[in-house]
């Protein structure tokens, strides 16, 4: 049984009069690894901004469970968003604070935990992402991949129910990207979080995505949705196919690649 965790109803996103996407209508279920995909400039990251409360939709609703994010008053919205964690594209760690201080920040602001307990939780979160012992480093002193993992540790600080990722594997080598994918999946499995991921990394999409939505920049709306592998096998939309096969459009040749890729994965 799938339980809806996040529902987007008839949403239009716009900057002033300039519409980015219209008529978005989809549901993200609890425990999903939900992929928001589409070509560059189609509004994937903008959609994310709308989900995490940074941008107001021009029209439509975002429901967390049964609560509407944008109709709720500011306190309720804060409470809803406290149950989410966001990993920004480049980690977005506060550069004037050490990793430990970065992760401790939400804990000390939103819980009544003591300093000792916060330190323990910080160490635990860093260990979860494979950064045990790096508490006292500043973000500028560690590599990009490590910054990203530290950002993930901060996103998970409050044990969120929903974790958002903006291009998690951008700028990572294939092996680090794969390790990050594995980490994301095992966090989902073990914490039971719901994962929402903006990405156009095909390897990640097929490896861990359980559901998806495909945004199109030309007609400015979603043109497909569903499990990525199923999309690849069943979709007849040339745009979606071209995206999912890196431009190899023909159905016939595609079929072989399909099978190959499935085997590899």
């Amino acid at each position: 049984m799938a339980t809806p965790c996040l529902t987007i109803r008839n949403m239009t996103m716009a900057y002033g009069d300039f519409v980015i996407q219209r008529d978005l209508d989809f549901t993200i279920n609890r425990g999903d690894i939900f992929i928001i995909m589409g070509g560059s400039g189609c509004g994937k990251s903008t959609l994310l901004m709308h989900l995490i409360g940074l941008q107001h939709p021009a029209k439509g609703q975002v429901f967390y469970g049964t609560e509407s994010l944008w109709e709720a008053d500011i306190n309720v919205r804060q409470r809803i968003l406290q149950r989410t964690g966001v990993l920004f594209q480049s980690g977005a760690l506060l550069s004037s604070m050490t990793l430990a201080e970065n992760i401790a920040l939400p804990l000390s602001q939103h819980t009544k935990l003591g300093a000792m307990r916060i330190r323990e939780i910080v160490s635990y979160k860093l260990a979860l992402v494979g950064l045990a012992g790096f508490e006292d480093y500043y973000p500028a002193e560690i590599s990009g991949g490590m910054q990203k993992r530290a950002g993930l540790a901060r996103a998970m600080a409050l044990d969120p129910e929903i974790l958002y990722f903006d291009e998690p594997s951008a700028g990572l080598d294939p092996i680090s990207a794969k390790l990050l994918d594995d980490l994301i999946r095992s966090l989902r499995d073990n914490l039971g979080s719901t994962i929402v991921m903006v990405t156009h990394e095909l390897a990640s999409i097929f490896a861990i995505g359980t559901n998806s939505v495909f945004l199109d920049a030309d007609i400015k709306t979603m043109i497909a949705g569903g499990p990525p592998k199923q999309l690849l096998a069943e979709s007849s939309d040339p745009k979606v196919l071209r995206f999912l096969t890196r431009g190899l459009m023909e159905k016939q040749s595609l079929h072989k690649i399909n099978i190959q890729e499935h085997n590899e994965l």
């Binding site: 609890r30 469970g65 819980t111 009544k112 979860l128 039971g192």
Partner: protein, 397 residues
């Protein structure tokens, strides 16, 4: 079975009305049979809960050399999150330390998965930082070394600037003309309102402070001399420079610093541009061109400010005031002020650009660059001003 049971918990979390519902209190029970100790966990271990202390268990583990094995029972365990995880990690670490066999297989699957993630990458011991207390001699020595490095980097920067000015003179410097004009616009016309306000008020203050004393002797008319000479020789250029170091010096440092953070300066280098010519020269030229004009403008504003006070409060007519002023100020006074101000312009551009180019690659580094740019500017300006005043005095200019 465990999975579906966890699933219910997530449903509870989802529903806000249930979320507020009270949690069961956390409990720990210790049951020891022979060499095995069983740790029974009960209740909801969530972030804001009061958890029982682990100390009894840990001390029991410490002294009990008889304990060989630690097992968990979690039938009564409700919700759990990071709070339980950190406690478990403490217990397990202690167990491993005591060479006790820790059996985690009876823990919920999610916890087992997380534990394996935690212990997947061993802690990098060399990564840990220790606060090393430095002795005072070391602190002083380090300070001296830093100061020397600072001085040499300043000299290098000045040297590079001179070289690029040389290239400019030979017509070989490469930068976009539009950049020069944009910088002139930023340093000049955009700065006029604030320069107007500050120098007007400075003239006003000068007049007031002086007038109160001079009026005692009935010598109000000399306010004009004082304000006129004070503004042109000293305060006009000086205040303009202070304003510009806060306004433009900091902006230069922040701009160039952000370009450093975004690797824009590296990009320019790879495209064959010299950042010193492409970025620093137009800024420096703009300031050198603009500062004398701003100085003259500030002088005028100061004199107007002074005249308002004198005419308004001390019974001197406008005509008298300006007659007196034009008699008091000679061309050489104006030249002294303008020359000083041009020097300040060079110093502002130099320190602003230098701090920007030296900027590190993070947001806080940009902040530091802007701060130290302003501090450097002001220090340089004050030192240069006192030196030049002294020289003028000695030479009788």
């Amino acid at each position: 079975m465990i999975l579906s049971w966890q699933y219910d918990i997530f449903l509870l979390h989802l529903n806000p009305s249930v979320m507020i519902a009270t949690y069961l209190p956390c409990e720990i029970k210790l049951i020891q049979h022979d060499a095995t100790i069983e740790l029974a966990l009960a209740g909801d271990w969530v972030l804001d809960a009061d958890t029982p202390s682990l100390e009894p268990l840990l001390t029991q583990m410490l002294k009990g050399s008889t304990i060989k094995r630690l097992v968990f029972s979690t039938q009564a365990l409700g919700h759990w999150d990071s709070l339980l995880m950190t406690d478990l990690i403490r217990v397990i670490d202690q167990g491993v330390h005591q060479c006790i066999e820790v059996d985690t297989t009876t823990l919920p699957e999610g916890i087992q998965g997380l534990l394996s993630l935690v212990y997947a990458v061993p802690e990098r011991l060399d990564a840990k930082r220790h606060d090393t207390k430095r002795r005072w001699l070391e602190v002083i020595g380090q300070g001296a070394i830093n100061a020397a490095n600072e001085a040499s980097s300043l000299l290098i920067f000045i040297g590079e600037t001179v070289l690029s000015v040389g290239a400019l003179v030979r017509g070989k410097a490469r930068f976009r003309n539009i950049d020069l004009w944009i910088n002139i616009q930023d340093c000049g016309p955009s700065a006029v309102p604030i320069v107007t306000l500050i120098s007007f008020l400075i003239g006003l203050i000068l007049a007031f402070v002086g007038a109160l004393q001079l009026a005692l002797f009935g010598a109000q008319i000399y306010i004009a001399d004082m304000v006129g000479l004070g503004m042109t020789r000293e305060m006009g250029g000086f205040m303009a420079a202070i304003i510009m170091s806060g306004r433009t010096g900091a902006a230069f440092a922040a701009q160039l610093g952000t370009m450093q953070v975004n690797s824009e300066i590296d990009a320019l280098k790879t495209m064959g541009f010299k950042p010193m010519e492409f970025l620093v020269l137009p800024r420096m030229l703009a300031l050198i061109l603009i500062m004398p004009m701003l100085c003259l403008y500030a002088d005028l504003m100061g004199i107007i400010g002074g005249s308002l006070v004198t005419v308004g409060f001390f019974d001197v007519s406008f005509l008298e005031y300006f007659e007196r002023t034009s008699g008091a100020i000679h061309l050489k006074d104006l030249m002294v002020g303008v020359t000083k101000c041009s020097v300040f312009g060079v110093l502002i551009a130099l320190s602003g650009c230098m701090r920007g180019m030296q900027c590190g690659r993070s947001a806080s580094a940009v902040g530091k660059a802007a701060t130290s740019a302003v501090v450097t500017c002001i220090v340089f300006i004050v030192i240069a001003d006192s030196t030049m005043t002294l020289i003028c005095n000695r030479l009788g200019i």
